[in-house]
Symmetry: C2
Subunit: 328 residues, 2 copies
């Protein structure tokens, strides 16, 4: 698996580097203090999965690198902009192992920097000159906001359905994976049926990605994630592993009482959060959540049957494996 997952990055390196250059160019604000912070954030960025999916979805059809690289840079910047605002909303102190903008700049400056990055990402989407790409871009931004608003309004509530959880993480995370795959397929000139298959691939993959994220938040600590464990619990965000854990504990048991107090925000010491994290780990809920992520990743791969080019299909499958592999 380790060997295979290197293929996709090797094959796509030249275009990913072009995406990188476009992103850095757009993040270069006129104010040195902000420019440095934004470039740090952009450079600390992860595996560039979203741009990669976009490039590959186009490559599966007609590979015209210019508009694909432009759109891919737009998608990565949209992601960065939404992280900047999300960290302000959550008042998070660390992101990608570094202080968030939010912890260094006033919240006013962070709002404006996020808006500036949104503007830059919209300019890149517009530069593709494809009305459909722009429409996907705009509706993806709306979906992301919807997901983040849901997360805010659903916070501190243990009585959520799996459907509510899935709708929320679709908006927050999967919508951008879906949009990236759709934009790539559109720019590649895929048939409408294939565009929809690739969109479905992106959507399911994004769901898998977020569930894995939710598991890692409970399983790993600062050393692996660059942020402390149990952040979601601290914010009252109820994720799938927590829901699965809640469904199996004895009502009014000490675990139940502790979980309700932490989710409700009545207990917020790190020690209390650590206890609930330990309860969840012990319950087996993490493995059950990972099984759900696996199912989404498998379903994502099943949508790739439509993809005509076997090499690109293989690379898109690799990405699905990579998303699940983060937990290995």
């Amino acid at each position: 698996m380790k060997l295979r997952t290197r293929d996709v990055f090797t094959t796509m390196r030249p275009d990913l580097q072009r995406v990188e250059a476009r992103v850095e160019e757009a993040a270069d604000v006129d104010y040195p203090i902000i420019s440095t912070l934004v470039l740090d954030l952009v450079r600390a960025g992860g595996k560039r999965l979203r741009p990669l999916i976009l490039l590959l979805a186009g490559r599966a059809y007609r590979y015209d690198p210019d508009p694909l690289v432009t759109a891919a840079a737009g998608v990565e910047l949209l992601h960065t902009a939404s992280l900047v605002h999300d960290d302000t909303v959550d008042r998070a102190a660390l992101r990608r192992g570094k202080p968030t903008l939010n912890s260094v700049l006033s919240s006013g400056a962070v709002i404006l920097v996020g808006d500036y990055l949104f503007a830059q990402s919209a300019m890149l989407a517009a530069a593709t000159e494809s009305p459909r790409v722009v429409a996907i871009f705009a509706s993806t931004l709306a979906d992301i906001c919807d997901g983040q608003l849901r997360e805010m309004f659903d916070a501190h509530r243990l009585d959520q359905t799996r459907e509510e959880y899935e709708r929320r993480i679709y908006g927050k995370t999967a919508s951008l994976f879906a949009g990236a795959a759709e934009m790539g397929a559109v720019l590649g000139g895929a048939t409408e049926a294939d565009v929809q298959s690739l969109r479905a691939y992106g959507s399911d993959l994004g769901m898998a990605f977020q569930i894995v994220d939710d598991v890692l938040d409970l399983r790993e600590g600062t050393q692996h994630l660059g942020k402390p464990a149990g952040q979601d619990l601290r914010q009252g965000t109820v994720t799938l592993p927590t829901m699965l854990f809640a469904a199996r504990i004895v009502p009014d048991s000490p675990e139940d009482v502790r979980l309700r107090a932490v989710v409700g925000g009545d207990l917020d010491d790190q020690a209390d959060i650590d206890l609930v994290v330990a309860d969840v780990r012990r319950s087996g809920a993490l493995d059950d959540a990972l099984a759900a992520a696996d199912a989404f990743a498998e379903r994502a791969k099943s949508h790739l049957e439509a993809v005509p080019d076997p090499e690109t299909r293989g690379l898109l499958e690799e990405i699905a494996d990579l998303v699940i592999d983060r937990t290995a």
Copy 2:
């Protein structure tokens, strides 16, 4: 003048009502508490000058209402979104005589509501299916952010040039007037030369509008503006009337010392701000600033020579008069 300025609203009422309906539809968020607040804000909105300019710029050529109404609603929502974020940046308590979202919701919720409105405005721009309209939209958003960042970084500095001031208000305000006029002309199918003339009209008109705003901030109080006088001074924002005043006071005089202390943020009592406001009023700087606004409005009108349809040209001239009339 009063009679004439009624013409444009009478003539354009049906289409402005369609714009209104599109804006309200887009502002209708899924969460009742937020939806009510956003609809209140949208309905309290002013004269809809930006959508009006867009509609008229199109009407001067080929009047195809559907895309024009869509783009006009997008422009009004972009304006609303930027007000929402700007009030958070400024921590303003009142806007249009009502409490800001910022004073009722957590700053996290306000960021997300602003982002949601940005997304809705981008969706409307995309719905025009004109790559150029989308490109204007995106670069206007970038200009607005640039202007707001400049306002933040230029705050508390009395040693600013007129050029810095103009660049800042261009971004913050005039860019959207310019973009609205340009989008309208593009959708109307104007020649490139005419598109540029209308853009120049919008830009100069927006400059006049912001200078008038800056004068009103010092001249009127809560009763007329729906917010207390001298807000800019309180935030350390140095506007044209303040710059003109500063240029004519005796160095180290009591007025000079007081002005420096208020702009620098060392004095922030309402009583101290009121004293500086009175100093500025007495100095005649407000009239000089209004003369500058007048000059921009006249220059705006001069760009209308290009407009072929005399009736629409007359209505666009009315808007320029209306912007200056706010001070009468």
